[in-house]
Amino acid sequence: MRLPKTSRTYAAEIEELIVGRGDYVIGGARSPAFLDLDNARHRRPVIYGEVLDTLEGYPESAASMFSGRQTDPEEWAVMWKELGADGVCLRLGDKGTPEMVKRIVDRTRLPVMICGDSKILREAATLVDDSVMIIGCRDREQSLELADCPNRHIIVAKCDGTSPQELCKEMASKGAERIMVDLGKGIMGPVLKGLRERISSYRLRGLSGQEDSNHTIVCDVTSSWDAHGEDVTARMASMHEATVALAVMMSGADMVVMKGPGAADMARVYGEELADL
């Protein structure tokens, strides 16, 4: 039987962002995720490993996988580099300082994402002027507040269920030059279905050329660990986190923030195989 063609072409491509010191690229997709049928660009999503400045509330099953180096954020970040992560997501609490961010940027030479209160994020964004960071935002208000951060860092549009197009437009009007879109946290459970739909839909709108829909998508899947009880094994938690990462990557996420090193490694391998690298 002669079969009809099923490949599709798209009017536009997803924006490309250069992060770190210029040696890492995120985005640039020209098809639904990984799909060679539609002439996919052979590029996998990037994986950022999570680092905190305090271990309060951090799951013991995850901490045990960092060989004690999780007690020092700089060492922890270096360990993520040794594990093959593409970047580090640094969550800054009371103990975090802009200088700590700078030291981690310099020591790891990896791209860094920072999350925390607006004051410290702005100070860190001012201090770090030789590496493009991603400024993670906890809510829509913070995305707007930090839209004019100096040094052309990338600002995350935290959509909180509102229109990503409208938020991106508003952020741009306040000075944001480079934006990544966050459409919700990745976690196993009924919310995953809605998140996948939002990511796929945003990606397809971007490929069809709709205005303010071509930004790259970041998805934080570290909350996968919170869905378990304390008695969960590291293996089971890692399998769930890697599965959620796979689900959001296949929907179109360009960057995934992860907690467990085993899960991060699995997600990287999944990305490499699906991107045919």
Partner: protein
């Protein structure tokens, strides 16, 4: 649907334990919800006996797999009221398998390594009067799962023969789990794995509950 396999080389005692273990997993995570009995011995008797045992002890869906139509016929007698999916039909033996499938009113899985061949098989099977078909494009890795499941999903909008459910057959271990995950994320596939551990079954079950 997610099936795990029991070989007919397994002795009855071990098979009973395995069915009990799979029943426990099904109740806790929903996975597996099917058992595939495979005719590795190529012999009639052990296959038929194991199918009968599975029919008695397992309350979920059943699949039976053999290259030999005669072995399938003999085994089907024990579980015909359960409408098991019959696996083994290909270009070389379609007529014999189609006859069995029609006689016992069971779904038939068709296998072919290229989509054109698979659509030809489905067209022939439909011509013989079979409606309940499953398509197995013989996927070997997760990349193929993504590409072929997507291709078949799109084809189903244009080609009537592509509208049947897709089967993904895989092996054991974490890679098999990943192939299952990719298949479920792309399409509502029927996945048949040789074996998966309890954690993998739980993970697949959690994903299925999350995305459906």
């Amino acid at each position: 649907m997610m099936a795990l396999t029991i070989s007919d080389m397994t002795d009855a005692n071990t098979a009973c334990k395995r069915i009990a273990e799979l029943t426990k997993r099904k109740r806790s995570s929903g996975v597996p919800d099917a058992i595939c009995v495979r005719n590795d011995s190529f012999a009639t008797e052990p296959f038929s006996s194991l199918v009968q045992l599975v029919g008695e002890l397992w309350d979920g869906a059943i699949m039976i797999e053999s290259d030999y139509p005669a072995n399938i016929s003999k085994a089907l007698v024990h579980v015909m009221d359960r409408r098991p999916i019959v696996i083994g039909a290909n270009q070389a033996n379609l007529e014999q398998f189609a006859l069995i499938s029609k006689t016992f009113s069971c779904p038939l899985c068709l296998s072919s390594e290229n989509l054109e061949g698979l659509m030809d098989l489905a067209e022939k099977a439909e011509g013989i009067g079979l409606e309940d078909l499953v398509l197995d494009p013989v996927m070997r890795n997760m990349k193929q799962c993504l590409e072929l499941c997507t291709d078949l999903k799109r084809l189903s909008e244009k080609v009537p023969q592509a509208r049947h459910p897709v089967a993904v057959r895989t092996w054991s271990g974490e890679y098999a789990m990943t192939m299952a995950l990719v298949s479920f994320l792309v399409d509502n596939a029927i996945v048949i794995a040789d074996d998966l551990d309890a954690d993998s079954c739980e993970t697949i079950g959690a994903l299925l509950k999350s995305i459906r």
